[in-house]
Symmetry: C2
């Protein structure tokens, strides 16, 4: 899929790829995209293939952990006392909202001018099912859920807030709060430790989960899991394909390796195997190995291949 | 307007308020909103009055500076070497996009379910006029403009990117770049110094300008100016009304005072008067006076009233 599928077949997600993914027990996805296809028309962009895959697998719940590892606290641009101990899970709605809403497109308006438009839309059941996942995730964590919206302006957000609030009576053990998205993007910088689990829509989740991951200082380290009601889940690193360093053996493979651990845990129910991979990553960091993105003086700088080999040795 | 207008007249922006604002040479706005009206219906929210005022004055260009003052560099949660010298101007489109786009509202869909929906829409001329302001702002600053969008997914953003790119031929002296909004929210944390001027749509500007201002560690310090093609501009602090500390003489008045300086500069063309106010604020900080939000050990903690008096003495 993505760029390589475009080159090989002319479309970013060939039918046979989607069929093969659907037939699998779980899907591990590498980062996609690159300069070569950046100016393609929308239906021929690598990103369009990714959105089609998410929609095709109906993986509406995207779990994005952003935790500061003690070994990497110095990699954050935030002060140590602010970054230390941050452990956030962003639950992002992934198959609805403005990413998929219709109508969308280009149109000439009454003044004869070109316009571009998209629709942000959520139905009650779309909100309920993602909120339910988020309440359950919060229950397995520290029991705090913050729902992020823009309910002071947007109707889509007003419905979001209303449904999440209503559902909370089913989860009396979870402490629910609401925050406007502009405030959330500030609070993540001001005091990220105040957050446990965050639930939000597709576009706000896109923005806030990237911000949260950067706060950990190690976006090259962060995996994600996307799951639906049934069928295979989709597991991928949070980071993009980093075309600027393609082919240079510099990329950090740990986010993809940790995505495989999430695949084992959430996709196949293989908790022990997941833990072994995670422990191997921790151990490799403890041995001091670092790719460039997480390097700090006193540690051992290695390339992508070598980092993979070190994890493999340990696992 | 806002909460007090609701209490006095039943609407958040009485006609006579808008008429008086339109009749003025410039408008200085205090932060609005509070718990009391939080659960009002949309047309009875203080925020709705604010949006009506922005639309009524046609102030489509919102300039939000986020600069780290040398005296306050310790107030940032970012490491000193990351925060020091940050000086960003966010140019946010203020009267279009998803805030005002139609259709919007609530609807029952084909499954008989409730939905909430909004429309993100931009016309070519709306994009051109905000981009033009941004290019001109960048020209008076360090000559770098970063346009932020989500053109890999949204049609409204694709048109945005196309128009901004086309307009750049009129500004060959400005270095234009484009960035996806998720990446921008990361890069603001990773390395805010890479930015000079940012131009973006209404909702992305809402999120990113709050994030940028928090990076300076002194959101209580930041003014903003909203201007249109003609008529009075609207000048207001970036921060909200902070209802949690209402009546406690704790709020930082400097953002409102600095908004008055922006009013003098951009609204009335009184550059010297603007500079005198700004110099008085700097001098008051140099004398060591701080409200709680920007306090650090070794400085003098004062309340809102006292801070205002100190600035007044100096001006
Ligand atoms: C590549 C892009 C379409 C995608 C998104 O916006 O969802 C990416 O930013 C992500 O967060 O996975
Ligand atoms: C109060 C609210 C409607 C407003 C906005 O979203 O524009 C505020 O957050 C701002 O940024 O001025």
């Amino acid at each position: 899929m993505g760029g390589s599928a475009l080159d090989a077949t002319g479309v970013p997600l060939p039918d046979e790829t989607l069929a093969a993914a659907r037939d699998s027990e779980a899907v591990l996805l590498g980062a996609i995209g690159g300069y070569k296809w950046d100016n393609n028309e929308k239906h021929l962009k690598p990103e369009t293939g990714l959105l089609q895959l998410r929609a095709g697998l109906r993986v509406f719940a995207n779990l994005r952990p952003a935790a500061v590892l003690p070994q990497l606290v110095d990699a954050s641009t935030l002060k140590k006392e602010v970054a230390e101990g941050v452990d956030i899970m962003v639950v992002r709605e992934l198959t609805g909202g403005i990413y998929f809403g219709k109508p969308r497109g280009f149109e000439t308006n009454d003044n004869g001018e070109e316009t571009g438009f998209n629709t942000e839309v959520y139905s009650a059941s779309e909100i309920d099912r993602i909120a339910r996942v988020a309440f359950e995730v919060a229950r397995k964590r520290r029991g705090k859920l913050c729902s992020v919206d823009k309910a002071n302006v947007l109707e889509a957000s007003m419905l979001w807030r209303r449904r999440v609030t209503a559902l909370s009576s089913e989860f009396p053990d979870i402490e629910l709060s609401h925050m406007y998205v502009d405030n959330a993007s500030m609070q993540l910088v001001r005091n990220p430790k105040q957050f446990d689990t965050i639930v939000t829509n597709n576009i706000f989740g896109d923005i806030l989960s990237d911000e949260a991951s950067m706060i950990t200082g190690s976006i090259g380290m962060l995996p994600s899991a996307s799951v639906g009601e049934s069928g295979p889940g989709l597991f991928e690193p949070i980071h993009g394909s980093a075309p600027d360093i393609a082919g240079q053996d510099k990329a950090n493979p740990l986010a993809t390796i940790l995505s495989a651990a999430m695949l084992l845990r959430y996709g196949l129910g293989e908790e022990n195997a997941a833990k072994r991979i995670e422990a191997a990553v921790t151990e490799t960091l403890n041995q001091g190995f670092r790719t460039g993105d997480i390097y700090s003086p006193g540690t051992t700088l290695v390339g992508c291949k070598r980092m993979g080999e070190e994890v493999l040795k340990t696992v």
